[in-house]
Symmetry: none
Subunit: 205 residues, 4 copies
């Protein structure tokens, strides 16, 4: 977890906090401003100065809580995207995955899809951003997916002699590929096509 949580919780375990307490309103205003600007201008054109101005706080107030733009963005954006990408449970693995991929495609086609793209883009210059994206966003979803696939293996719907990580890569990477390179549309038909290609070789049959 980023430093902000630690700093906030540690002194509070003792029942007195020395010095002036951090203004909780500032915290919220900063996150709100950062999130809004992220949607408006993307990760690269996001500036600490701009966030500070919009939130009506000083720059050090931001730097004190988040050591850099990446960590702030993580708190502002990544830490709260969960529920809409959950997996359904239809009883059939391929359908569970298909429906969740539909949801992901839907998200990618929304403004927030562009935010994800700019975060991954910005992360190419800052490994911390990528690391945070992985641990706060991607890995939880991959873990969910992994569970679904394992369930399918247990049900003997799909082969068990494949590397699950690679399967997940094969399924999801085309979506990110098109999100980032924009050489083709992100449609449900494309999802169907990818599932067809990837899963047809995994059928237990």
């Amino acid at each position: 977890m980023p430093k902000s949580s630690q700093k906030k919780t540690e002194p509070c375990t003792g029942n007195k906090a020395p010095g002036r307490p951090r203004c909780p309103e500032a915290h919220e205003k900063i996150l709100k401003s950062a999130y809004e600007m992220l949607l408006e201008v993307g990760f690269n054109d996001l500036t600490i100065e701009g966030i500070a101005a919009r939130a009506g706080v000083g720059k050090p107030t931001i730097y004190r809580r988040w050591s850099n733009k990446a960590r702030l963005v993580i708190d502002a954006f990544l830490a709260e995207t969960s529920p809409e990408l959950s997996f359904p449970d239809t009883g059939k693995v391929k359908e569970d995955i298909r429906l969740q991929m539909y949801r992901l495609v839907n998200l990618m086609n929304s403004p927030r899809g562009q935010v994800i793209a700019t975060i991954i883009g910005g992360g190419q210059a800052d490994s911390e951003v990528i690391d945070a994206f992985l641990s706060n966003w991607l890995f939880p979803r991959r873990e969910d997916c992994s569970k679904v696939i394992k369930k399918g293996m247990e049900r003997e719907e799909i082969r068990t002699d494949v590397d699950i990580e690679s399967v997940i890569d094969a399924l999801y990477s085309p979506l990110f590929y098109r999100l980032l390179l924009k050489h083709g549309l992100l449609t449900e038909e494309f999802v169907d096509e990818i599932i067809s290609i990837v899963m047809s070789g995994l059928d237990k049959s």
Copy 2:
């Protein structure tokens, strides 16, 4: 003003540009400097000022030719990566693709792989960069790949009822995915795994 009008229009109705032509040596020096600095410091820490200084040219000479850093990088980097990614011709489609994917993985693991990553990353804030990456780099290679797959279809090595574009996406996107997200290694084993998953469903059998 009989003279000036004549002078201005007459020669320009002809075929050439008026004024001093742009110095081709400056062009080369700039591209060379940009390419070297790209490898040394990456896309984000690249500065026009630094390139100008290293190339021994003035900043306006750069801005006169490329409107921003992105376009310069495209010319500096993308215009010369071709030959090492050609497809072999072993007679077996799957092997042709496998070997070329090995080459791509090899490239991605070199410093130039990081340059590609930063270009795609930078492109998230500038669609022109992505467009240039597509037309100057990606599409030519996809076209090559497409030909190989079609050849395989003619030879009846693989099924003909699939969308070639989606197949290419399924094959290559995992490599870019790992290049950009760094959640897994880009190894030849990973290539084998992807080919196994994707191609096993495409076998004409």
Copy 3:
């Protein structure tokens, strides 16, 4: 005389001029543009580039004729202000001077007064400008004034034991002073006052 005249006349004194002669229309267009822009933006904000653009000529065409902005301005402005500042001949020295000073005040209150001010101002950074202003503009008028004063001395209207140069300075410097420092209005009443102060001590009485 500025270099342009020399260049133009010298080869012509020799009976051969090799090469294409300089286009006289360009000369006129440049001077006209320079004069207009001088009125519009003043000496300091005058740019060779702007003059060239307005005149529809190339920069080298200007630099070929005038080595710097100062020399161009001299030709564009100073070489043609003469007639309106001539001295009348009323028979009374004090009146001749008074009327001519009225004319000068009138000129100084026109846009061209500001041009003179910016030329003197710009000349503080370029002694050539001042020198040209002196020889092309100021000295001819001082010479005229000197003749008028000498005539007054001969007529025994004024004392002969004073330094004429100092008298001219005493008479005219207040006008330039107010032109440049703008701490007081340049009116005919002010002229009267100065003449009263300076000439009252010079009366032959």
Copy 4:
């Protein structure tokens, strides 16, 4: 002014400005550098970049305090030239003025005279410079002079039916005239001559 007002007023219901105070050393270093460079290269060739470099500060630190070169020069030069131009008190008005004019001529012949000239020159393109020169430099000295003349009038040394402003102009403008146009030397003899011309008509006799 969204941020500053809100934030500034809320916690600062107290009396002082929040934030780090402006470094007074930087202030001094900038003024010192500007003054030195003014002596070396004059107003026109003075650059903010050069001042910043010599003072060892960043350009924004200068721009934060002075909106343009003119205002900086005013502070750097004009705000501190007073004492050497004070009037003596010999008991005789003409002598008081003569001695002070000697001092002014002496100043004008020093490097600082050239600085004054370039400031007046530069002021022709920027009325703020002239205004500042008037209020910070010229008017205080004119006021001193005015007092001396009035004293002379009370003592019945000189006539009382003349406009004091015009007298001051008549006395001092020749010095500035020669300072700026350089058509004659600024000597004590010249001062004597001017005083002779101007004051001879003012004698109470």
